[in-house]
């Protein structure tokens, strides 16, 4: 059985089962803010920073699709603390780094950009990339 979608909506519909399986498709997911034009310097990781303030899984009951990203944040808080978030939350009061998106009110619960950055950082870190390489990749992908 083949498919011949002619529109973006048609393609999504054609992949119905697949798209539904992905909880919150990229097209329908909440964006914190449109990307781009939010470039700025990446922060310097704070010595001794850790994941103690990162929201726990039991605090993410309303955002199950965000759980893998929060797991990534718990694995590499020292990396996330050296990354500027490109979704716009970097301009919020009290924000320091991408790690901030995973603490307190945790914008990353709803924001696919926050989630994507952490998951990409985690994947690249596990692949041996340095912080600078991860920053460059995140700038290219989300900046």
């Amino acid at each position: 059985m083949s498919f011949a979608p002619v529109t973006r909506r048609g393609f999504i519909a054609g992949c119905g089962a697949l798209m539904l399986a992905w909880s919150g498709t990229p097209l329908a997911a909440a964006h914190c803010e449109t990307r781009s034009s939010r470039r700025g310097p990446h922060p310097v990781p704070r010595p001794g920073v850790n994941a103690s303030k990162v929201l726990r899984d039991d605090q993410l009951a309303d955002s199950p699709e965000a759980v893998p990203a929060f797991e990534a944040a718990r694995r590499i808080p020292h990396i996330l603390d050296g990354i500027r978030c490109h979704c716009g939350c970097a301009d919020l009061k009290g924000f320091y780094s991408l790690l901030s998106c995973y603490e307190a009110d945790g914008m990353a619960r709803m924001c696919v950009i926050c989630q994507g950055q952490a998951r990409l950082a985690d994947r690249l870190f596990r692949g041996g990339s340095s912080l600078d390489e991860i920053r460059a990749a995140i700038d290219a992908r989300f900046g």
Binding site: M1, S2, F3, A4, P5, V6, T7, R8, R9, G10, F11, G14, C15, A17, L18, A21, W22, S23, T25, P26, L27, A29, R35, S36, S37, E65, P68, A69, V112, I113, Q115, G116, R119, L120, R123, A136, A137, A140, R141
Partner: protein
Amino acid sequence: MRAALLVLLAVAVIAPRRAAGQIRASERSRLSQTVDGTMITVDYARPRVRGRPVIFGRAVAWGEVWTPGANMATTLQTDHDIVLAGQAVPKGKYSVWMVVDSGPRWTMVLDTVWEQYHEDHPPARSGQIRWPVTATAGGMTEALTWDVPAVTATGGVLRMAWADRTVAMPFTVPASHPVTTDAAEAAPLVGTYRVTWLNPDGTPASEPHDQMVQISYDKGALMARWTPRLWGPDDRTYLIRLARGWFSPGFIDEKGALVDVFTEWVLEFGHGQGTAPAFEVRGERDVLWATAVRVR
């Protein structure tokens, strides 16, 4: 009693009327248009013809340095360098003036002193950009209007119309995602791949399936032909470079012009030596949507 009357009088005099309401002969308006991350904003007042039989040549004298608006001079702001009607315009904020003429050749004036009154009529001076633009006669626009009647992936048309004159100025913006890719980086990617779309658990999805993508390199650009196609009028997409080995589909229209860069997806090729054996398609959450392996 007298004191009470004085208080009432004072209140009547100094109390604000309606905070937001005020009738203006030329109401303020603002046009803002974003194209590929460049925002162009025109802030202006809208004079009306109001039954006057002749505007240009009488209300606005030929040869006058006129702001296409009213009251405070119209301003144009761009947050990136643009090319407007063939003239390079650095990012910034300008007051906008036009030297009107009975013929089609008008002069556009952008002055870096942007906060000016419409009667200031700035003389030629440093900090100004002056260049010829074309005015067309015909039609009737009651209230002066700035608009952008055409938008493309790379620019559009900025238009001013009032009374029986219109000035339409094509503009282009800097491309955030050039379509070109270096030949040395592109060569290892050229070939045909079979795409397998995945469920969240990593198992192959029941559909879509049997999708092939043929990647070619022509005129400095990587092009992917999807069979069956993704969406849009053409089965081809550009592969728009984000970083080394990372590309997003760039959808094209019937004429082959780039119309949409779908950065929600990234095709990731490996950085190995020789021809690329495979690539992955990742979504915005960096989830793995599909894998593709080279078949030719």
